[in-house]
Symmetry: C2
Subunit: 376 residues, 2 copies
């Protein structure tokens, strides 16, 4: 790396044994992607996967950069939205990658949000039992969360992310300037995951966010700081527990409730996007913890107040339209993958930055809690 001159750029190194990789964070990385890739990867072919919103904004710049550095690239532009994470689209992506004769040292490149990253990463993980994978996340959520850590996947009629593989990227290029075209709503949704890192185990970071969130939103240097800190947090957890046998489960704070809500609206992004589900889910996790006398109700209020100030939904009733009966929400939770031998596993908390894995949560408590919360 001879990037020290780029004062505003940050580097987070993910020291996974045998598969260590870099996350670069800063403006203008898409235009420089070719050089960053050729200095790290051997192959000179690439298959880019992107979506219909992102392609008109950044695909040409990426293709130009790859071409300049001698990488032969093809691209596939898919529809936007969570429904793109399907077996049909996975099949299309794999077919395109094979047609492009991508070999083990060549790369699949995901240019887009978490949907594209999860789908393209899954394809990269199974084509020839694994080819190189470069993440160019363009949504805040993807930059701070989905592009780091190697989880890939698609949804099935049984639920979200139920098929997938662990497949680490070889490089992550988080171009923070690309976030300028992201809608306010999607930026906020990604911000929920940023706040999550504070709520898991970094009370000081949560406090910093309470003070600096406006600068993060408006694109001042605090934005890069918040993204780098988030990536570092995620990297720390992933390196400690790559396959989620223990501590990594903490990253699911807010996600068990969140996924149930996403399922309840049938992944209709008009009603609820992932990060919004997580925001409501985190508030619910804090409130449920308070109800179980594990945390103070003040902490739950503080979490809700901050997420609300930012403009995120914090209550089930913030979701527009009708929701299915509470029992069906619970069924979605039970079918969620974070279930061990029939017992409900939740991430609960003792306070801001004091989350923990609770293995043995009685589903009856969850049912009555949810019933109550829905009517607020």
């Amino acid at each position: 790396m001879n990037e020290t001159s780029r004062a505003s750029e940050r580097l987070v190194h993910v020291p996974l044994q045998g598969r260590a990789y870099d996350i670069l964070i800063g403006p203008g990385l898409i235009e420089r992607a070719g050089g960053e890739i050729t200095s790290r990867l051997k192959g000179r072919r690439a298959a880019i996967v992107t979506d219909e919103n992102v392609a008109p904004l950044y695909l040409e710049a990426l293709m130009d950069s790859l071409q300049t550095d001698g990488i032969e690239a093809v691209s596939l532009t898919l529809p936007t939205g969570e429904k793109t994470k399907s077996l049909e689209h996975l099949s299309t992506v794999c077919d395109m990658v094979l047609s492009a004769r991508i070999e083990r040292n060549d790369a699949v490149i995901a240019l887009g949000g978490g949907v594209i990253g999860d789908l393209a990463g899954f394809a990269a993980g199974i084509v020839r039992r694994g080819v190189r994978f470069v993440q160019i996340p363009t949504s805040l959520l993807a930059q701070v969360d989905s592009s780091v850590g190697g989880k890939t996947g698609i949804n099935t009629r049984h639920g979200k992310n139920l098929l997938g593989v662990f497949h680490q990227p070889d490089l992550v290029l988080a171009d923070t300037a690309a976030l300028d075209t992201l809608s306010e709503r999607e930026f906020r949704a990604g911000y929920a995951e940023v706040a999550k890192y504070g709520l898991i185990d970094q009370p000081d970071f949560f406090e910093w966010l309470e003070k600096n969130w406006k600068a993060v939103f408006s694109g001042e240097p605090e934005r890069i700081e918040a993204i780098a800190r988030s990536c570092q947090s995620k990297s720390d957890v992933v390196v400690e527990d790559e396959r989620e046998t223990g501590r990594r489960a903490l990253l699911n704070l807010g996600h068990t409730f969140g996924h149930a809500l996403e399922a309840a609206v049938e992944y209709d992004g008009k009603r609820l996007v992932h990060g919004e589900g997580v925001a409501i889910g985190m508030v619910l996790a804090y409130q449920f913890s308070a109800r179980m006398n594990l945390a103070s109700p003040d902490d739950a209020s503080r979490v809700e107040a901050h997420l609300k100030a930012v403009g995120l939904p914090t209550r089930i009733s913030d979701i527009p339209g009708e929701l299915p009966p509470t029992q069906r929400l619970l069924d979605a939770i039970a079918q969620d993958k974070k279930v061990k031998s029939g017992k409900l596993t939740f991430i609960l908390t003792h306070g801001i930055g004091q989350s923990f894995v609770a293995d043995d949560v009685p589903s009856s408590e969850v049912l009555s809690f949810l019933d109550e919360k829905r009517s607020r």
Copy 2:
């Protein structure tokens, strides 16, 4: 393991770090599967995948044994044949496994030959990003080769095994009595892979096979010996190089040619099954090595003589029906996954038990060699 009383049973331990597993080899293991599984795995649910030939023979015995030991099992019976290794069937298997609410500690069980093992193993590798996997191989090929080592996969229109994951089994139960119902032809096909281990790096084993092959075929104790020795060979290679970055490629002896021939008959098992392709492929690899002055033509003749004695095809012209032009065979080889940056990679040999990876084989040589061999 308190199986020491079972004199005829063999155990091969595969000491992969963190995911070590046992291969049990002997008669009657299907009837004892439940006990062997519960003593090693935590989950108490299982989803069995099998095929239409194997189900009527062994499914009931397996289900009974699982039930006796308290494992709740469901099963899915698929059509037989290589075409079953498709994305459509993968989707069906995943759906069935998810419907059965198989969690991370529960198992997918493959009961059948390599087709079922590869397909079910792939599903086990991607459902919830990996659930437990038990191989109960019922063909000789599956017992000595495909059930060991963790490679899983399906075919696409671009070629064989182009989509898949590495997903190690947690237990392999090779019931040698099940081979009694295997057709002579399929037994012979599996035998090609047994001979392969000798040809790769164990000249003494190849010699042993030349002397003892009839006892291996007729089911005397030599059969268990040959299977155990094969599993041990494969295990040694896999432990050294799980992800096939080096030495593991030797297991592809005969396979580059073999896969091209399988593709040429469009995976029509009536014309050519996998092991037959490998038999012809190994002879071709020895002959091509002789032609390149790497090995003696006598070794090529010795290999051909043994495989022919056993009743295996050894020449391209042994394949019934028309074959496509030689150039198309070569294209299939180039698209085969064992290709690095455009150069042809082959396993060649300096003699019996002296195989090596050749990275830089000129395709023009292969073309003229194949052209000549076809007309024999």
